[in-house]
């Protein structure tokens, strides 16, 4: 897969680190820094100490060595935070780079109104233009197939090398610019202007160019800015108190105290966490159209899951033929196989397989018998074959019953009973009829995906309700729901039912996530708080959703929810850690500030730091280094386990709350010992 290929081998990929180092310097520009109030304060502090340091240099000062080290570490603090952000962006940029290659200039065969084709540059295409793409050509822009069928290599977008079929009409009509036609020829109606294509948006998204702060990030930023002001007050007013006490402090020490107290750890890593969250989604081949959607995924209360493909393996499989009274099983198998031979649907193929394996029926050449295949339509809801005068039909019980009645037949009681038994067990009964007589029933079975039950149990533990959406009748739906362990199901669901369910859940204050691919899913995808469109789906569905799954794997919804939660957890954990850190820093710096005048205050120096200068310096260095140390955690996210909120809170409070109090005591002490050993202060 492309994205996996582009994924850096390790967190510290040399190329990304190199770029990030340069970006960290570029980001020192005040206009960039102002977006991050906490780090902006640190930058101002660094500038102030630098100016004073220059004055020191000119006039001479007794503590130049100390002042210089403080100033340098303050700048490092800012740079480390910038580096964290640049690292997160760098990973996205590397992916964007690969995508850009797919965007190379293409030529298009634009159809003129008179039907002739002209060759124009792909960038000249506008919405509504018609282009023709032949085998081997790159599709010049996003659009819908209006004529023809073709196999298309979409690996540039999805990373999946197997070609996919794109055809006019239906839910498989969308094509993406930059993908390659492998066979046949299609006529495409262009649906986006240059610069606005899916590929363009994708590049912008992974690069983080258009990144806007998400609602929760904004709220957290307000909290951090508020805390920064509180600490600014505490430090600024400390000087008058210090003067009153006869122990005025230098600006270097005051700025050090301020920088140590304000939440630089989370302030420095906050945007990196957000970018990395988006990036994790991209690694799962999911594109979120906004950071807001990723956050919403963490908040989801209800998951609407399509049965097929999500809960069950894509297709039902024939497991049994059950004959009507007076008919042999072989007869049923024979008719079922005949009607399914030209049927390319997975169900059709599974019937042929069953007939072969269990009844030894081999495939027959239908063309020789001038067989006529009757495909499934939404109106008849049957398919079948006309073969040597035999009219064979198979379909849902009610469809066949109507068909039989129209032809003077009827559905025997016994067959009806079989149909109900199968339905109640969660299977899908298909009735096979020949001419006007019901031969028997094919038992199609849904195969529930392995491990899905456990996944749902985890979701339940986390308070997320799962609702299975299916077109099946309520009996079948209930049986599968039971087997898969979903909380609820919506049977015989129409797009409107789906929509109503979403609205009902939302009216209770719940957030709803769903997947969809068809055009008729579009309104529901738009209504849902998290709408994941399948990449194979229609353009309309992709426009309506706020995420696109490039693998078109509906089970991905579960991972998306987990990534959303992990993003929020990482933010919360590091915020808690950052604030808890302050306790130790106080015990390092406050005695150091005043022990000169009041030696009794050394009682607060519980870490027994060597000298006041080494104490202040150790706290500042710890404060800077912890940002670097936590970059991997910010980029990977905190460890995620499915458990109840109460259990999660307990665990994270211990790790990041209690840990946040203890770790700096140890860290500052170690740094102090090193400073002592190196005679730096």
């Amino acid at each position: 897969m492309l994205v996996k290929e582009a994924k850096p081998k390790s967190l510290w990929d040399a190329k990304i680190v190199r770029t990030a180092l340069i970006d960290a310097l570029v980001k020192l520009h005040p206009r960039t820094m102002m977006r991050n109030p906490v780090m902006f304060v640190v930058e101002i502090g660094s500038v102030v100490t630098s100016v004073l340091l220059a004055k020191d240099l000119v006039r001479g000062s007794g503590s130049f060595g100390f002042d210089l080290q403080i100033t340098l570490w303050l700048w490092f603090t800012v740079l480390f935070a910038n580096f964290a952000e640049a690292m997160a962006e760098g990973r996205g940029k590397a992916q964007a780079e690969t995508l850009r290659r797919a965007k190379s200039e293409t030529m298009a065969n634009r159809l003129l109104p008179d039907g002739r084709a002209e060759t124009v540059s792909g960038s000249k295409l506008r919405v509504g233009d018609l282009v023709v793409c032949c085998a081997g050509e790159v599709i010049p822009g996003d659009g819908d197939v209006v004529e023809g069928v073709a196999s298309v290599d979409e690996s540039a977008i999805t990373g999946e090398s197997a070609p996919v079929i794109r055809e006019a009409g239906g839910d498989r009509s969308a094509v993406t610019g930059g993908t390659r036609v492998l066979s046949d020829q299609i006529k495409v109606k262009i649906s986006s202007n240059p610069g606005e294509t899916f590929l363009d948006r994708m590049i912008a998204l992974v690069e983080g160019a258009e990144r806007q702060k998400t609602p929760n990030e904004i709220a957290l930023n307000i909290l951090l800015a508020g805390l920064t002001i509180v600490f600014l007050l505490a430090v600024v007013t400390l000087q008058p108190f210090a003067i009153y006490s006869g122990s005025p402090q230098t600006v270097f020490v005051l700025v050090s105290l301020l920088v140590c107290l304000i939440p630089t750890t989370i302030g420095g890593l906050l945007s990196a966490i957000g970018i990395a969250g988006m990036d994790r989604l991209v690694q799962h081949n999911v594109l979120a159209m906004s950071g807001r959607a990723v956050e919403a995924a963490g908040d989801v209360d209800t998951l609407l899951l399509d049965k097929t493909g999500t809960i069950t393996l894509g297709n039902r499989q024939a497991s049994e033929f059950i004959a009507a009274p007076g008919v042999s099983n072989d007869q049923v198998a024979d008719a079922a196989q005949l009607s399914s031979l030209p049927d390319e649907t997975p169900e059709g193929r599974s019937i042929v397989v069953l007939a072969k394996e269990k009844y030894g029926l081999r495939g027959r050449d239908l063309t020789a018998h001038q067989a006529q295949f009757v495909p499934f339509t939404a109106q008849t809801r049957m398919s079948g074959v006309n073969f040597d005068g035999r009219v064979i039909r198979k379909g849902a019980a009610d469809a066949i019953e109507r068909y039989l009645k129209e032809n003077g037949g009827y559905l025997p009681k016994e067959v009806q009973a079989t149909v109900e038994t199968i339905a109640r067990s969660g299977g899908t009964p298909l009735v096979v009829a020949e001419n006007n007589r019901a031969l028997g029933v094919i038992h199609l079975k849904d195969i529930v995906k392995g491990g899905i039950r456990e996944r749902f149990a985890q979701l339940r533990a986390m308070g997320i309700k799962t609702v299975m959406i299916t077109g099946d009748n309520p009996l079948t739906a209930a049986a599968i729901a039971r087997e898969a362990g979903v909380d609820d199901f919506l049977a015989q669901a129409t797009p409107k039912d789906k929509m109503d369910l979403i609205k009902k859940e939302q009216s209770q204050g719940k957030l709803v996530a769903m997947t969809g691919d068809g055009t008729n899913d579009a309104p529901a995808l738009a209504q849902a708080d998290v709408g994941v469109a399948m990449n194979t789906g229609t353009q309309a569905a992709k426009e309506a959703g706020n995420m696109v799954d490039l693998d078109s794997n509906p089970t991905k919804l579960l991972e998306i929810v987990e990534i959303g939660k992990q993003l929020l957890m990482t933010r919360g954990s590091l915020t808690t850690f950052s604030i808890a850190n302050d306790v130790a820093k106080y015990f390092a710096i406050i005695p150091a500030m005043f022990a000169g005048t009041f030696p009794v205050l050394n009682a607060l120096n519980i870490m027994h730091l060597a000298t006041p200068q080494s104490a202040v310096l150790s706290a500042v260095i710890f404060n800077a280094l912890i940002i670097i140390a936590l970059i991997p955690l910010a980029l990977r996210g905190v460890q995620y386990k499915a458990m109840s909120a109460a259990a999660l809170l307990r665990r994270n409070l211990w790790v990041y709350g209690a840990g946040g109090v203890i770790v700096p005591f140890i860290g500052i002490k170690i740094i102090d010992l090193i400073i002592r050993a190196l005679r730096l202060a």
Partner: protein
Amino acid sequence: MTLNGWLQILFYFVVIVLVAKPMGVFMTKVFSRERTWLDPVVRPVERVLYKLTRVDEEREMRWTEYSIAMLLFSGVSMLVLYLLERTQQWLPLNPQKFAAIPQDLAFNTAASFTTNTNWQFYTGEQVMSYLTQMAGLAFHNFASAAVGMALAVAFIRGIARREKDTIGNFWVDMTRATLWVLVPISLVAALALVSQGVIQNFKPYDTVKLVEPQQIQKVGQDGKPVVDASGKPVMDTVTEQTVAQGPIASQEAIKELGTNGGGFMNANSAHPFENPTPFSNFIEMVLIFCIPAGLTYTLGRMTGSQKHGWAVFAAMAVLFFAGVTTAYWAESRGNPLLAGVEQHVSPLQPGGNMEGKEVRFGIANSALFATVTTDASCGAVNGMHDSYTPLGGMVPLVNIMLGEIVFGGVGAGMYGILIFVVLSVFIAGLMVGRTPEYLGKKIESYDVKMAMLYVLIFPLMILVLAAASALLPQGLATLNNNGPHGLSEILYAFTSGTGNNGSAFAGLGPNRWYNLAMGFTMLVGRFLMIVPMLAVAGSLAKKKIVPPSPGTFPVTTPLFTVLLVSVIIIVGALTFFPALSLGPILEHLLMHAGKTF
């Protein structure tokens, strides 16, 4: 510390636990306008009041209108009190013929009583007429308490309501708080206090002959002892004493019940006419906590999560015990510098540091009273906080710095701790992987912004004004002590003012700077904090309620209690630790090194 002392403290706490539920249930009914057994008496009065004032009791207000009504009421009633003070010399009920109160002191006092602070830069029995005390100060004792309760209930409604614009009617909430809760309880409590010997009369002051004439140092106009040419202090012989009188019991009850704290006498609840016996002392302490403790039950009841109400109660209880234990321990240890003085407990000695404490209360009940009065925003005192040991005196200071949310002022404590709940939920709520929710309501940037504003104003006022006082000559002019103790006194004054507590560390004389700065900070500490608080209430009321699930952030568990306590301590401690380290902490360490101030 003695077992007897601890048993008294525990007994007090048990009574508070027992009082919480009935008070909570009763207040829920009162503010939900349900029927109570007091209705036959009080309801007709209420109706007449609404008729006279043309209040439509069915009409509810948005948070903005609620704020404006509250500000208007407070502003106008503050002005009335100011005018009353300025014109008392012409008004009746002034047997001592007291003159008008000077402008800046009158402003300070008006601000002080309107904001439920009851900081007193005056000596009540020496400057205030009976009319000013009763119609002015006592009125505000009721009104400011009723305003506080109304605000707390409005906030609780904000949490409990679903997709509503309104949070109640200010006039109705205030009227009902007064008629159903404050007046009846005060009435009963005043009688109980009278039974203990608290006086209630309108007599002019008595003059009595001293049993033994006393020699006291003569004090000059500038407040300093007068010395003769040789530098010896000049002594006066005193043979008579003026004994102040007045309608004290009626004031005393509401002073505690409304967590006002402004004493009729300067000595406040240390004065035998205000607080004559250990039992009256106990009644007064129960009065201070009964409404705030009850409101935690009201919170649970109105939000439909009684467990949450108890979780909040538990957090308050933890902080209460932390405070009282520290204070009791510090005071019992006594002063190491007084090595020759008997400081051990014996049948004839209460032991420990008895300086500034009343013998009839002893160490335990003084430490308990000091903790209770500052846990709540009461500010009544039964001893001199200034004379406590540095750490013992730090307990009241820290209690106020935490925001007086340990049960807290009537109403003010409830909405104060709820702001901390909102912040705790926001900080830790993210750790469960969802947008933080408080009882089903999502905490969003607007709520965080307003909550942070509330949290910010508090240290802003305290630290900036205290820092200014520590530098300005005006700030240092009337300071009686120097060194860290002087700093504690300055800090305590602004903390007490901004926190609307009103208790004093003394040692700080009034002057124009302190009158105005304190008056200003009391007003800001009350009203500028209320407005963002109501904004949060209004915003919460509008939100949907997400039904609880295993994924919901738990606000009912012991873990939540621990979290809430941690957030309160960490936010408070981190803000004030530097200042404290140069005040009481330094003083404590110096004391053990042999130096006092």
